[in-house]
């Protein structure tokens, strides 16, 4: 039922989002936008020696996208850029395939319920698409999940 989607951790992070502030000394920034929902977020990343030292965000969105941004920022600190991008790949797999849930995702496994709600996948991935843009500087300052 719907509780599989809105697990306790997701509700907690949607009500009390972590790392939800701008960052003055960020050296990577990107913006994400979901035109269908109107969800938007700005992501701030400080990378030193290829390690994510700090990451924060500001924005507005539904419970899923808010919790996803919050939990993403928690899980990234201390990771190398390569590890962060690998995590993104695993997270995307979790949402869009039937592959068994692996432990390497840590707390992020709470989003496994989203795979049963295809219309909500883009809510959960908005922060991560924005992260990819910030880390790879793909030349698209505003990413869209549409």
């Amino acid at each position: 039922m719907v509780d599989d989607l809105y697990q306790e951790i997701i509700l907690d992070h949607s009500k009390r989002p972590r790392n939800c502030h701008a960052m003055a000394d960020a050296n990577r920034k990107a913006e994400g936008y979901n035109p269908l929902c109107g969800d938007e977020l700005k992501l701030y990343v400080r990378i030193e020696n290829d390690i994510v030292k700090d990451v924060s965000w500001v924005g507005s969105g539904c419970a899923i996208s808010t919790a996803s941004a919050s939990l993403m920022t928690e899980s990234l600190k201390g990771k190398s850029r390569e590890e962060a991008l690998k995590l993104l790949e695993k997270f995307h797999e979790l949402l869009t395939t039937d592959t068994p849930v692996t432990q390497e995702l840590g707390k992020l496994v709470v989003f496994c319920g989203v795979r049963d709600y295809p219309a909500r996948v883009k809510c959960a991935t908005l922060a991560w698409h924005t992260l990819k843009s910030a880390l790879t500087n793909s030349g698209e300052p505003v990413v869209s999940t549409e």
Binding site: M1, V2, L5, Y6, L11, S14, K15, L36, C37, G38, D39, S60, G61, C62, A63, I64, Y117, A119, R120, C123
Partner: protein, 414 residues
């Protein structure tokens, strides 16, 4: 609260519901509560059967075949045009053009009439309540022609400000294009007055009837609109078919919209002579099954009676407005004094998409998002709303289910 006197209005909703097979199903184990008819209405057996009969018995291309099936198909398809004439009270059936839907109706006028008549410096007036389909075609036209798009503002209730509209009108105004009923808020606009004011300024008026035709009796002659367009699928008919009404004088003076078969009289490589109305605007094999299905939808709605439908839906709207207003933290957007069957709302601290998902798991179908009316959302300062839209098959019990469902939403998120 008083329970609406639906029975005394002579409206038997249980009987109506028997006509709609889709309603008899469970979604996630709960009875379907379909509250998204402003997006598309469900189809009665009468429409489903008419389309089925066409494919099973009569199927052929129309207008030029001499064989029996083609004649039957042509007659059935053209019968819908006559029904549309009666439904809208047009002068002649030649004023009714088959289109894919409201969007195509507006695009046809913007493209055919607009390109011929709009010059640099001219102005097109739309309103703050418009659906994207009554914004973008005019924007494209203005961009191409160097014309200017002007917008009638609205107040916080979602009502257009006619005194501001008056100020927008002037010698440069060529067209006023306004929705009859707002899809996002349900506002019924004073279209008689809007059309009259446009005419006084020497402009034409197009009315987007997508949301009005299922709920209000339309008389295009009394309204004196130059164009009126709507989609079949919001009127319990199939998707992919709709009607554009235009005054014959205007349609005759307009160039064709698309070229192809059916819209011509003679073709040589040197010159093509275009067909007469309405066929001039109907290039290619049309949506024949859709047209026949739309005819059945006209009959269905006419048989029940738009007056009865409107009265019943109004009672539902009043009941729903009261029921939702009792929910703490819920705010209804769109509180126009004249309003059709739409309940658009926001709840403090809960995103519409989360509301939509939780309701869906209780079998309740609502729409969440900007409803293809982003300027309306911007004006009201919200990114999105949840919208419950009502139709003739909805019940008081379904509104109670919505209210209970919203209770569950609040339980989860607060």
């Amino acid at each position: 609260m008083t329970i609406p006197s639906v029975i005394s209005a002579g409206f038997d909703v249980d009987k109506v519901r028997e006509d709609f097979p889709v309603l008899k199903q469970r979604i996630h184990g709960k009875p379907l509560v379909y509250l998204d008819s402003a997006a598309t209405a469900q189809k009665p057996f009468a429409v489903i059967d008419a389309i089925r009969k066409f494919h099973e018995v009569d199927c052929a291309n129309i207008h030029r075949g001499v064989h029996e099936l083609s004649q039957r198909s042509t007659a059935a398809y053209e019968e819908t045009r006559i029904k549309a004439k009666r439904f809208l009270n047009a002068r002649t059936k030649n004023e009714l053009i088959f289109v894919r839907g409201t969007t195509e109706g507006i695009n046809l006028v913007a493209s055919s009439w607009g390109r011929k008549n709009v010059k640099p410096g001219d102005e097109i007036v739309i309103s703050a309540l418009e659906h994207h389909s009554n914004i973008v075609p005019w924007q494209m036209l203005c961009e191409e022609k160097g014309a200017r798009l002007r917008v009638i503002p609205m107040n916080d209730r979602g009502e257009l400000l006619l005194e501001e509209y008056e100020k927008l009108l002037g010698p440069r105004t060529r067209m006023v294009a306004v929705g009859h009923v707002s899809n996002a808020l349900g506002t019924i606009n004073p279209v008689h007055q809007i059309v009259e004011m446009a005419h006084r300024a020497g402009a034409l008026a197009l009315i987007d009837g997508a949301q009005s035709v299922p709920h209000l009796k339309i008389d295009v002659q009394a309204l004196d609109a130059d164009f009126y367009t709507f989609s079949g699928h919001k009127l319990y008919g199939p998707t992919g078919i709709g009607i554009l009404y235009g005054k014959a004088r205007l349609l005759n003076a307009m160039p064709p919209y698309q070229g192809g078969g059916d819209m011509i009289k003679t073709v040589t490589f040197e010159k093509t002579t275009y067909n007469d109305l309405p066929y001039k605007f109907e290039a290619g094999t049309p949506n024949i099954a859709g047209g026949i299905g739309l005819g059945a939808a006209f009959d269905y709605v006419t048989h029940i009676g738009l007056d009865k439908i409107a009265a019943y839906e109004h009672e539902l709207l009043v009941y729903g407005t009261e029921a939702l207003s009792r929910i703490p933290g819920l705010r209804i957007l769109g509180t126009a004094r004249e309003k059709a069957a739409v309940l658009s709302f926001v709840i403090d601290g809960i995103h519409p998409h989360d509301i939509g998902t939780v309701l869906d798991r209780q079998g309740i179908a609502v729409r969440t998002g900007h409803h293809c009316a982003q300027p309306v959302m911007d004006r009201l300062g919200v990114p999105a709303t949840t919208r419950a839209s009502l139709a003739l098959y909805n019940t008081v019990a379904e509104i109670d289910a919505l209210a209970a469902g919203l209770g569950k939403v609040k339980e989860i998120f607060s």
